[in-house]
């Protein structure tokens, strides 16, 4: 028995037919071809599957696809804007915040939510925000730097935008 659902992923609407038990991560990866988010565990610990659901960072291995019918999902594939890297992506490359790259999509999506809520986080705040995302390669230090780097870029972009817009 399958259910017809609609999901908007990175701005593209997808209509698909899924079993009720299909996890969101598998719907994204196997049904729709968004293989950026990854699976690293089966106990909701690692965060490699993190995507944004209506603007919130969620672990997509812990949601059913039918549960989020009608939702807007953003995956790592939706981060770059018209080929231009998001400051988070730039930050990770600039500060060597990734090695094997497997945790990176989830790590960046969690970081993005942090910076949307807290544009100027302290090191402690960054580490705490990322505690739901496991990384085996980096020892986290350069990820912290990457988020700081991105925060700075995003703040200055915002300032520029404000200046361009005549201070609105």
């Amino acid at each position: 028995m399958t259910h017809d659902i609609t999901l908007t992923v990175n701005g593209t609407e997808h209509e698909l037919s899924v079993e009720p038990r299909t996890l969101l991560i598998h719907a994204l990866r196997d049904e729709m071809g968004y293989t950026g988010p990854n699976v690293g565990c089966e106990s909701s610990m690692c965060g490699a599957c993190t995507v944004h659901l209506d603007g919130d960072a969620v672990k997509s291995c812990t949601l059913l696809a039918v549960q989020v019918d009608g939702a807007e999902v953003t995956t790592v594939e939706g981060l770059a804007d018209d080929g231009e890297f998001h400051p988070i992506q730039q930050g990770f490359q600039e500060e060597h915040g990734l090695q094997c790259g497997y945790c990176t999509p989830g790590m960046m999506m969690t970081s993005l939510q942090l910076l949307e809520e807290n544009p100027d986080p302290s090191e402690a705040e960054i580490r705490e925000a990322l505690e739901g995302n496991l990384c085996r390669c980096t020892g986290y230090q350069n990820i912290v730097r990457a988020v700081e780097n991105a925060a700075e870029t995003m703040r200055s972009q915002k300032q520029e935008l404000a200046a361009d817009g005549g201070g609105d």
Binding site: T35, M45, Q93, E94, Q99, G101, G139
Partner: protein
């Protein structure tokens, strides 16, 4: 370098102008040696465009799920497939009987043992592979697996190596002919008599038992594959989480009987390996066999619990160390006993002549005149493994042993632990140094590294603070721990080192295209260490090309030159050497073409590294760039040269490389809770010439995090029935960003004299070096109360127990002032 280690092509091994000087080439603009080039790999990973095994989708692809044993030790009485086969979408259920038809029910291990692919008769560890369900999707495969009915007759299990060697222990391996015990082998190294003599003559001897616990590399991507038997071309293609694709192809071919040119192993992007992805696992064989039988592609991707419970673990060495010394702290001899738990099969992934890996490096950074070790290995009802998780073939255990023993000796003699190291260091003039167990260390300057470390952490200040806190009866104890270790990486010389008979060389093939860019193919296989960037840097340096103009490929056995893969930090020592040598062969030919272009004799041509051009001697304005030479090699090749510009090198290293480090860990131990807070971790690594400092720093951070995890959090545990009690991320504790402290990295440069670019391996140094520094620091915090040792992982309850036994815990009555006459109100 001595003459007998020179190879026939030695002219390429050393640069004619003395080798690259990383400092001198900073900022020459091409991204050569020593520069912090941003990684080429990142672009696809930060956009979600990496290609890992589970991203692969093929037409008609089926999914495999393995039925696993709930018991650690049990006879399989019967397997009923019927209910599973009735599940809609289940295509096949495979058991050992089915695999036996193709001689695939068992497979050989790298250590001359035989391992069940699917259990034929008796389960030997919990979660072992019993049957496999092939279905149209991963959900249905699991449904089918739930419906396979297996009847077991359970047996007593043994999960403790010591108990396994008791006479009445359950016999793990009754499948081995005439086997009547769980003892696998005894291995010895060193000079027993000389060591005994050293102990007889010693002023002081110390002895310490320590257990290096079983841990698991747990890469975030688990193991998996997509096997695809092409019936038309009779070719098997397997996309595989592989650190050693060529070796895997050879083994696949040997086991399956499919000739090697009809087997293609592709290691795509790998989500971390850490030694976990060196062995061949039953899941790969099952998927390949299923694809062969069914004629459709079959994907197998294991879950996290399967990864931790059944793929190769690391460590599990019970060690007793003894040190003999003079009263001044000069070490005279070391004697070691080890009991190694190898699990149910001896399947350790290491060179065939080294059953205990390179453990014989246990004399460490010290000039030890006499050393001896006896090691016994045992079977238990646990998953196989031993060699993994940045161990460099048991160097983790060796370094832990010696660095702990030096601390124990320093306490016995009441001597400063930094000072006792300095007294025993192999002096820099003594290199190449032959150790008592037979390694020839290539180079080192240990004292300079230690001095730099002591300065950096303000050692004297720390000791003062430690005393101040003791005097003030502070709630937190300060501890300072050292590890001044020597690694051994880059296996290795073909005469000593082989994997299943294949000598442990590695390779590179460089092809320069007409328009002056290049494709480089290497026999090693990155799992995140940045080879696509750093190997391009080596070529950029040697050929004067821009790093952006060089593409590095790896992992495809159809196209890349044969190599032994990436583990034990061997990529730079062996593959990096091959890359530099191949580039020098290209440059040699390029020189001849340049002479033709410039119409002068070849002897009149010089290579100008800074401009990346060949020049006429004495006339630097007359020259041709490498790009121009590349074009000429296709368009105007000289009569004495073949057209084109490319070269291959298979590099058989003359020796291992011996990087070293000086690590200092500063901890605060909470006397109330037993919690250990790492206040500072300083890591100085010397891996010779540094190709990309940014990448090295990232390797060190990650490696330290794993060392910290080892010391503080991680352990695979079992109950007496052999149930895995820490077998997924709920209870096998990987550290998060909250548990890993800020780390300070530093370096000195002591090049490897035998390596073409003076570079040593480094990837595993931090995990090898850091655990003893952390344990030494925690012990140091409690040393004044006579504490000598504490086993890892040093969880708060464990540390609190040691504090309590030593009388160091806080008395609650002193901390909280109760008024005895008053009781809390009952409301």
């Amino acid at each position: 370098m001595s003459s007998e280690t020179e190879k026939p092509d030695a002219k390429y091994r050393h640069d004619e102008d003395g080798g690259p000087d990383p400092e001198a080439h900073h900022g020459h603009g091409r991204g050569g040696m020593g520069q912090e080039v941003k990684r080429k790999e990142d672009r696809r990973f930060i956009t979600g465009r990496g290609n890992y095994v589970d991203d692969i989708k093929k037409d008609g692809m089926l999914h495999c799920h393995v039925v696993r044993s709930p018991h650690a030790h049990a006879y399989v009485k019967s397997i009923n497939k019927e209910r599973a086969l009735n599940v809609d979408g289940v295509v096949a259920v495979l058991t050992a009987e089915d695999l036996a038809e193709y001689d695939l029910a068992t497979m050989p291990t790298l250590m001359d043992d035989t391992q069940d692919v699917l259990v034929q008769d008796k389960v030997k560890f919990q979660s072992q592979e019993v049957a496999a369900v092939i279905a149209t999707d991963r959900y249905i495969a699991k449904d089918g697996a739930d419906k396979v009915e297996v009847k077991y007759e359970t047996l007593d299990a043994v999960v403790d190596a010591r108990k396994a060697l008791e006479p009445d222990a359950p016999l793990v391996r009754d499948d081995i002919e005439d086997n009547d015990s769980n003892h696998i082998f005894t291995w010895e190294t060193g000079d027993k008599e000389a060591t005994e003599k050293a102990f007889e003559d010693a002023d002081v001897t110390v002895e310490q038992d320590m257990y290096y616990q079983r841990i698991h590399p747990a890469p975030i991507e688990t193991c998996g594959c997509v096997a695809d038997w092409d019936t038309a071309n009779e070719k098997m293609t397997v996309h595989l989480t592989s650190q050693a694709p060529h070796a895997h192809r050879t083994l696949f071919s040997m086991v399956s009987g499919i000739p090697e040119h009809k087997v293609r192993i592709v290691s795509p992007d790998v989500g971390g390996g850490f030694g976990n992805k060196v062995p061949i696992y039953p899941g790969y064989v099952i998927a390949a066999a299923a694809s062969y039988v069914i004629g459709q592609p079959v994907k197998w991707v294991e879950e996290r619990s399967e990864n931790i419970q059944t793929t190769h673990f690391a460590r599990d060495y019970e060690m007793t160390g003894r040190v003999a010394a003079t009263k001044d702290g000069i070490i005279q001899g070391i004697d070691v006993d080890v009991l190694a738990d190898h699990g149910a099969y001896n399947a350790a992934a290491q060179p065939s002549k080294f059953p205990a890996g390179f453990f014989k490096i246990f004399t460490g950074s010290y000039d030890v005149p006499a050393a001896y070790c006896k090691l016994d290995a045992a079977y238990t009802n646990t998953a196989p493994g031993g060699i993994a998780y940045r161990c460099s073939f048991r160097v983790t255990e060796a370094v832990y042993l010696i660095e702990r023993m030096v601390k124990v000796l320093s306490q016995e003699l009441d001597m400063d632990p930094a000072e006792i190291r300095r007294k025993n260091f192999i002096p820099k003039e003594a290199f190449p140094y032959e150790s008592a167990t037979g390694w020839t260390y290539d180079s080192g300057d240990y004292e300079r590294a230690l001095d730099k470390a002591l300065d950096a952490v303000d050692y004297d200040g720390l000791r003062e603070e430690q005393q101040r806190r003791l005097d003030a009866d502070d709630d937190k104890l300060l501890g300072i721990g050292f590890s001044t270790f020597t690694e051994i990486v880059g296996a290795g010389p073909g005469k000593q080192c082989d994997i299943a008979g294949v000598e442990m060389f590695d390779s590179a093939e460089i092809r320069v295209h007409p328009t002056g860019n290049a494709t480089v193919r290497i026999g090693v296989q990155t799992q995140g260490q940045g080879h696509e960037t750093t190997f391009a840097q080596i070529v950029a340096e040697e050929l004067g090309l821009d790093v952006e103009d060089i593409t590095v490929e790896h992992g495809d056995t159809d196209t890349d030159p044969y190599g032994l893969g990436t583990y034990a930090s061997r990529s730079t020592p062996v593959g990096g050497a091959a890359t530099a040598v191949a580039a020098r062969k290209v440059r040699e030919k390029a020189k001849s073409i340049a002479a033709n272009e410039l119409e002068v004799a070849e002897e009149d041509i010089v290579w100008d590294r800074s401009s990346g051009a060949f020049q006429v001697k004495g006339a630097p304005d007359r020259g041709v760039t490498m790009k121009e030479v590349a074009f000429a090699s296709y368009t105007n090749s000289p009569a004495n040269e073949e057209p084109g510009l490319e070269a291959v090198d298979y590099y058989d290293p003359p020796n291992m490389t011996f990087p070293f480090g000086a690590y200092v860990c500063v901890v605060e131990v909470d006397r109330e809770t037993g919690e250990v807070d790492i206040r500072k971790f300083y890591a100085l690594d010397d891996c010779g010439n540094r190709i990309n400092p940014m990448v090295i720093e990232g390797q060190v951070h990650g490696g330290l995090a794993q060392g910290i995890a080892t010391a503080m959090l991680e352990e695979v545990t079992f109950d007496d029935n052999g149930n895995v009690t820490a077998g997924d991320f709920m209870n096998y504790l990987l550290p998060t960003a909250m548990e890993i402290p800020h780390m300070d990295t530093d370096y000195t440069v002591t090049p490897s004299p035998h390596h073409p670019i003076g570079a040593k391996g480094v990837g595993e140094s931090p995990t090898v070096g850091s655990p003893p520094a952390i344990v030494n620091a925690v012990v140091d915090a409690m040393a004044h109360a006579g504490v000598r040792h504490i086993d890892m992982p040093m969880t708060p309850d464990r540390v609190w127990s040691v504090l309590n036994e030593a009388g160091l815990t806080l008395d609650p009555a002193e901390r909280f002032e109760f008024d005895a006459g008053e009781t809390p109100a009952d409301d």
